[in-house]
């Protein structure tokens, strides 16, 4: 089911009685979720991603704007008529019911023409349970299950009524690291098998990048960028998106563009087209954008080198960096040559260097046909 959000806005009344200022949770959301895809709503806490999810499922009504499922306007439709399955952050499994009863619960609500016989219900519950691989746990109570198993039960309960849209609210946040990795693959598999349009909310960029077909990056209720994870990573629209995606995070610097050259500190690090206006800019350089080179144009003072097997992380300082340390990820085979006073020099991969407006943080794009620039 294709989902279209049109100018969706949600405001909450002010908590503070003295000021009448409303809290804008979601502002003017306008995008389309293609049928059968897995979409990640990504953003820091309080960016309105959960509110967006709740508006899609109908538990919260938008202040303005419209929501379409396919061609149907569902904006004012009650949640039970939307055909959505929602998996809550802490699963919300009924603690007094067994796994089987929990999964059966939505089916037992069906009325009229949709009503199923007992056998059909049990059959569908078993199929849903098998899909998420908890078929043997049907007679347990939720309290007797691990977090990951509870998560699966919650997904089975959401899927058993064959929803048109599956919504997951922070599905992995209550799991430990290893289970998280396993479960996110599981979610991807289930989504591929059922082909149900799935929207999930997360603040973990790695999680969103790894399983989504498309990510929607949000900040303070406003969509920052929408696209395939790799595209958004490679081509961020603004400084926020660039900083939010990627581990280790992007290195940011205060820079200046003057006469077609980008300066970081005193180093003229990159030639940029004349289309880039002169003046101060914010510069983001991905950790993998550094190429160690003793004659490189970018310099820093080495702090230490962390070897992590396949590659190593070169930690150095630079006076223009906005954080105390700059981190570069380089192949561990490459010899790092230290100059006098522990100076290390790098060349930069042009496609890993992003220039942003110093005030607004908007990206200033320049031609990056040349993949890497060497002196």
């Amino acid at each position: 089911m294709r989902i279209i959000l049109q100018n969706l806005t949600k405001t909450f009344p002010s908590r503070n009685k003295k000021s009448n200022e409303e809290v804008v949770a979601v502002k003017d959301l306008d995008f389309e979720i293609p049928d059968g895809k897995l979409i990640g709503l990504l953003g820091p806490s309080g960016c309105g991603k959960s509110t967006t999810l709740y508006m899609i499922c109908g538990l919260q009504k938008p202040t303005s704007g419209r929501i379409f499922f396919g061609d149907n306007d569902v904006t004012s439709l009650e949640p039970e008529h939307r055909g959505v399955g929602l998996v809550f952050q802490n699963y919300a499994l009924y603690p007094h019911l067994t796994v089987k009863q929990n999964i059966l619960f939505p089916l037992q609500n069906l009325k009229g023409a949709d009503k199923l016989t007992k056998e059909e219900m049990l059959d569908r519950a078993q199929k849903a349970a098998d899909l998420v691989q908890i078929g043997e746990l049907m007679d347990r109570k939720p309290s007797e299950l691990s977090g990951g198993q509870q998560q699966r039960v919650a997904i089975a309960r959401a899927l058993v009524k064959t929803p048109r849209v599956l919504l997951l609210d922070e599905p992995l946040s209550n799991l430990d690291a290893r289970l998280r990795l396993q479960t996110r693959e599981e979610i991807k598999r289930i989504q591929r098998e059922t082909k149900v349009t799935t929207v999930f909310v997360t603040h973990d960029q790695e999680e969103a990048m790894s399983i989504s077909d498309m990510i929607v990056v949000m900040k303070e209720g406003v969509v920052q960028q929408i696209g395939q994870p790799q595209n958004v990573y490679d081509d961020p629209d603004n400084l926020f998106v660039a900083q939010f995606l990627g581990t280790p995070p992007i290195n940011t610097f205060d820079g200046v563009v003057a006469g077609g050259t980008l300066f970081i500190g005193d180093d003229a690090v990159l030639d940029v087209p004349a289309s880039v206006p002169d003046g101060p800019v914010s510069v983001g350089i991905r950790p993998e954008g550094f190429i160690p080179d003793e004659n490189g144009r970018f310099s820093g003072k080495l702090v230490n080198i962390e070897v992590m097997g396949r590659d190593c992380s070169v930690v150095f300082t630079n006076d223009s960096s906005r954080k105390p340390n700059v981190r570069a990820i380089v192949d561990s085979d490459i010899q790092i040559i230290r100059g006098a006073d522990n100076t290390v020099r790098f060349d930069l991969k042009k496609n890993k260097v992003f220039i942003f407006n110093a005030e607004t943080g908007e990206r200033i794009r320049f031609d990056d046909s040349d993949k890497s620039v060497r002196v």
């Binding site: 499922c57 538990l59 949640p79 008529h81 009924y94 603690p95 007094h96 609500n109 069906l110 009524k161």
Partner: protein
């Protein structure tokens, strides 16, 4: 030599430990003693003594004066059970419990759910519903008496309470609820109304607390799954507040078996209209026996009451083990 050394080494720390333990034990008992002494004097001794008195045939509390020895037996129990008034008391008590506990619990649950689902005036209404709990039960009894009263007959009615005035609007003849000559059924109706009204506030408080602790997400999940309101109530709300329900039911059964002050409030300590004792309860019976130097019978009666409460509570506990979801 070697052996001696090891033994010595082992013993020494042990002695220190013993010393330390006994001194800390002494301190523990010292700190507990104020509470313990009071408990022994006012709870444990009377409790044990009740058993003793109940099994001494014809015990009247004057043993030492007369120098007479009582034989051990179950005469007291026989007397109590064969006593006509005792059967009435038992009947009254059981009926009060069976009628008032389910009604007051159901009403309290409904009111609690209603209170929980409204936002405006919730705090105010909570206070209103809680008022009976903080009002003196004798005072409420007297007000109930005034509300249900009717003095005189037919055209000669001199004064009547608000209840008779209200039913008079519907053309119903005034009923003698509480005054001399009133029937046992009418009395029972008034007492049950009183107990239900008086029992609801505490139950609302407990159940409301339970309801407010239920995670809202269960209701959201149910809503998305299209669960009807009634099904949500029976399949989600009730199981999730069942520990509170069990608590409320068990305590109100126990309270019901100990019912006494409500009847005194309405009828005075004659325990019935015109002090005829027709509304007497088990606890009332025990109190009646005491001034008549029948402490043997009183003890036996309270042991019977104890037994009944024990059985009912055990049944409650058994049922709630199966039905309550902790």
């Amino acid at each position: 030599m070697n052996n001696a050394v090891t033994i010595k080494k082992q013993k020494k720390p042990k002695a220190v430990k013993d010393n330390f333990e006994s001194s800390s034990n002494f301190k523990a008992w010292l700190y507990l003693s104020p509470a313990l002494i009071l408990l022994i004097i006012f709870s444990f001794y009377p409790l044990i003594n009740t058993f003793r008195m109940a099994f001494l045939n014809g015990y009247n509390g004057l043993a030492i004066v007369g120098g007479e020895k009582f034989t051990i037996g179950i005469e007291n129990f026989k007397t109590v059970i064969n006593y006509v008034d005792f059967k009435l008391c038992l009947k009254n008590t059981l009926l009060l419990c069976v009628v008032t506990v389910p009604i007051s619990t159901t009403l309290a649950l409904l009111i609690a759910v209603a209170l929980n689902s409204i936002k405006p005036l919730q705090k105010f209404l909570q206070t209103v519903f809680f008022l009976p709990y903080v009002t003196n039960s004798i005072a409420i009894g007297m007000v109930f008496n005034a509300m249900f009263t009717r003095v005189g007959l037919g055209d000669l009615i001199q004064t009547q309470g608000i209840i008779n005035n209200i039913i008079g609007i519907f053309g119903i003849e005034p009923i003698n609820f509480v005054n001399v000559g009133s029937s046992w059924g009418a009395n029972m109706f008034v007492v049950c109304t009183y107990i239900i009204w008086n029992a609801i506030p505490f139950k609302i408080l407990v159940l409301l607390g339970g309801l407010q602790n239920v995670n809202k997400q269960y209701y959201e999940a149910a809503k998305i799954d299209g669960t009807s309101k009634i099904r949500t109530f029976f399949r989600i709300t009730i199981p999730l507040v069942s520990p509170m329900l069990a608590y409320v039911i068990i305590t109100s059964f126990i309270g019901g078996f100990k019912e006494y002050s409500s009847i005194v409030g309405i009828f005075g300590d004659g325990m019935g209209p015109g002090s005829n004792g027709q509304m007497n309860t088990l606890v009332g019976y025990v109190y009646n026996m005491l001034p008549k130097s029948n402490s043997g019978n009183a003890s036996a009666a309270s042991l019977i009451l104890f037994g009944i409460i024990l059985i009912v509570t055990a049944i409650n506990g058994y049922v709630s083990k199966k039905k309550v979801h902790y």
